[in-house]
């Protein structure tokens, strides 16, 4: 399907710049659909946040802000390393490209590990909408529902907050897993010498666009879910 001697340029493009621009534009168009995909959840959150502000603040204060801050730093650092990966690919330096891709994957896996730990802690504390929410955590201790009721907050509304928390962070985690898969694929290609042709750096670049977008969504999730309510300590 290629017309140039290196096999990089596909036959339906006039030149490599046009091909690279098309790849970038395709990813940007996809990201616009992603904005609207996340946007639906953000709009719904906004409506309920305006209706039940006290319940959402109370729910947010139960989340572990320290984990969110660490994860923000991890994700931001992974954005930096994948950007350096583009530079390495642009230079045709596959060795450095592989290193940067590997570090990016490792940072993402640590993020996912922390998120899993956080979900587990939430589960242990019965901060899950449904039957667990009204079940005492330990013998003789109040359930989360009773605890929130004692604070003068409607437990049903707090459960709504946690529904948003799990749905939105769950969608984000799903995007992270897809991103790790894509970066893993780039790593595999790099081991096969695919990026010896440095024109192919654009494939690292378009994957990085997706990765930065996932990072961006996380910053907004931290703002509306973790940092929204008052916290006395980080952990």
């Amino acid at each position: 399907m290629s017309t140039d001697s290196s096999g990089v340029l596909c036959h339906h493009f006039d030149n490599i710049q046009q091909q690279q621009s098309a790849a970038r534009m395709g990813m940007w168009l996809f990201l616009v659909t992603e904005v609207l995909f996340f946007g639906g959840a953000f709009v719904a959150y906004t409506a309920y946040r305006i209706w039940y502000p006290e319940a959402f603040l109370a729910g947010s204060s139960k989340l572990i802000l320290g984990f969110a801050a660490i994860n923000s730093v991890l994700l931001l650092t992974s954005s930096l390393t994948i950007t350096f990966g583009i530079h390495a690919a642009h230079r045709g330096d596959e060795k450095m490209l592989k290193r940067f891709l590997l570090v990016t994957i490792l940072l993402a896996l640590v993020f996912l590990g922390i998120k899993a730990k956080e979900y587990y802690i939430d589960f242990q504390e019965h901060l899950i909408p449904g039957t667990l929410f009204i079940t005492p955590v330990h013998e003789g201790h109040p359930s989360p529902a009773e605890e929130f009721e004692a604070m003068g907050v409607n437990p049903g509304h707090v459960q709504l907050f946690f529904m948003f928390y799990y749905c939105m962070t769950g969608i984000h985690v799903l995007h992270m897993i897809v991103g790790v898969g894509l970066i893993g694929w780039l790593y595999f290609l790099a081991t096969r010498g695919y990026f010896k042709h440095k024109e192919r750096f654009v494939y690292v670049e378009v994957t990085s666009l997706y990765w930065h977008f996932v990072d961006m969504m996380w910053f907004f999730l931290v703002a509306i879910l973790y940092a929204a309510g008052p916290h006395k300590s980080l952990f």
Binding site: S21, L76, T77, V202, A223
Partner: protein
Amino acid sequence: MHNEDAGAGPEPSNASYFLIYGLILALIGAQVLVSMNSASIGGAAIYLNLLIAGAQACLLAYFFMHLKGADNLTWLIAGAGLFWIAIMFILMLNDYLTRQIAAY
């Protein structure tokens, strides 16, 4: 931006990326500070947090996602995304927030 060997590429300044990285790190710290003091800040805390998240997103998009050196078409697509999300927010909230809350 244009390189005859490899086509259009990222700007090759690592120092500027580290600077942006540092700025966003500082904003993460600011977000934590706002949240830890939100009891005294009051209702403005959520707006401050969203402002910080917006600044982080702008820095990421402009520098890390290379909007800085992007062509007009890319800016148009990014702008269209913002425009459509604005429509979604305005029309949906215009409906839900003007209904009787008792109905829910």
